[in-house]
Amino acid sequence: MTIPVAAGSAAESYLASFEQLATTDRAPEAVQAQRRAAFDRFAALGFPTTRNEDWHFTSVSPIADEDFVLLSSRSGDVRRQELDAFKFGTTDWHTIVFVNGRFEPGLSDLRALEPGLTIHDLRSTWTGAPDVAARIGTIVDWQNHSFTALNSALRLDGSVVRVAKNATIQRPIHLLFVTDANAAKGMLHPRNLIVVGRNASATVIESYVSTTDAMYFTNAVTEVSIEDGATLRHYKIQREGRRAFHVGTIEAKQARDSHFVSFSFAAGAALSRTNVYTTLGGEGCGTTLNGLYLLDGEQHGDHQTQVIHAEPNCFSRELYKGILDGRSHGVFNGKVYVHPIAQKTDGKQTNNTLLLSDTAHIDTKPQLEIFADDVKCTHGATVGQIDRTALFYLESRGINAAQARRLLTYAFAADVLETIEVDAIRTGLEAMTLERFV
């Protein structure tokens, strides 16, 4: 794959950050070498332009034009109570907290981990679990994606979650990334690795939230390995500050009979891009990629999903919904590749958008490339507005116009919200959806 790039200049402003990291950060030589290789790739690729097919509807020049400072030392000033707003009313989740990109053990809840579960901050694995650390960079394609390359070059911190074979982890695991006002004009490149062992199962929530309306840039990458017969339910909650930039990639590799159930919720940031990629790398796998994005004002929110059916007898289900108000711009690009060997693939993709204003718009692009002949793959996209008949029906029952609109807006998202298996998250996101467009 070749990607057209903008030449040189973008990378230069990041060179200082990279060099600073190379001289001040006490990372093992193996990590340093990986960072160098990744920075070289980033320098070669540059930031993607809209001539790049994968970025056709999303210009990253607001990110490229800014000089962000790498948040390299602990700068957070967040109190424990402030985190309550981001925990969906729960107190019993396994929680690892990062503030402005750095691990905060004092804010985390990592005691009493269930048997079979280990959670580390990334830096501690460099010396404590080098075999695990070595897997970082082996799942995600950092050679061809500039933001992933950039993350790989500047990664400082993050989390490593491992679930031992046959373990069923009951309580959700929360990777909570918070920014506060000290993140202003800064950038963070969180890097996570999630490994779910044979026949194990777990639920991981990855939250990107903020207590500030400052401008900053989050560029996160999460690598996921789901081994034979294992199940990972993954929720990404993007509620960055309204002036923030967010690019986040989740890339999974699935082994035989494994299941990946992903939900991506995006409501924050001025400009955001979420990539959810998975490869069905063994027979009998299933993937469910669902998502909901709520945009208003001048927000730009982009989702790209990619399902690679590399083996026979796998299924993928995809339902993404967007609610767009104001002058917001939504983008959905759903890629499905079916390799020649992947017979009996059963794939379905749906993207529905509700436009609440005449000035909001959506670019939706299904992209199916099918090289096997005995497969069932469908896709569908709809773009609509509030149903006037339904609105009148509600009003005729005494429900005022504003509430009726709110109810119908929520109702549009109801089916995708209902797929959320964690009650606290479902209830929380339902409330956010109801309250968002008043």
């Binding site: 008949t389 005494g398 109801a414």
Partner: protein
Amino acid sequence: MSLLEITGLRANVGDKEILKGLDLTVDAGEIHAVMGPNGSGKSTLAQVLAGNPAYEVTGGTVRYGGKDLLEMQPEERAQSGMFLAFQYPVEIPGVSNAYFLRAAYNEMRKARGEDEVDPLEFADIMEQKLALVDMDPAMLQRSVNTGFSGGEKKRNEILQMAVLEPKLAILDETDSGLDIDALRIVADGVNALKRPDNATIVVTHYQRLLNYIVPDYVHVLANGRILKSGGKDLALELEEKGYDWLTGGSTAAVGAGAA
């Protein structure tokens, strides 16, 4: 003072005039049947009274409980006790029937200056209302009208009517698409809700429903006007002779799609 006084009402759908100077007066305690051929304007009358913005009122006045109905928003009309049972009840996927009914019920209570009820209190209220229309409580957990059969949708309309206890109920072709058992259930529900201080307008094409909901007055609507009014016997006469003897055969086929 009459509950509803319609004088010279004119209304358009798009550029097409459907109601062409309609007069109708309804008092509390009365049941009025509005009958007429397809395209006569029956459903337009029902929609205009409920305030559907898809219809444009171009002339005439409507006074409801002494107030200017045409100045009121649809939700104000509902909060003032007007209820339209839709000919085609709208499906709203994603909103449960229980939530919808409680939201509507609480809007009525708020409009009357009463406290809202919580889901538990509301469940008690629903118990007897469900029995009235012979409806399975499980229907409350389903999305509003979504995947309901024709009969279930119509029963759901009467259930809403039972919950909202309107002063003026307008039943728009509530009998259409119902088998005889469902028709009886719906009619029994309407009759049970009749009180000296409320009124019902039954809009229908056929006399069949009027065997079960016996009107005090029958009006024949044709070509956008009330052509003839009478007692319940008029309905029987229409059933026997059709509409042509009143309309001279000229309106029977007019704009069937616009009803």
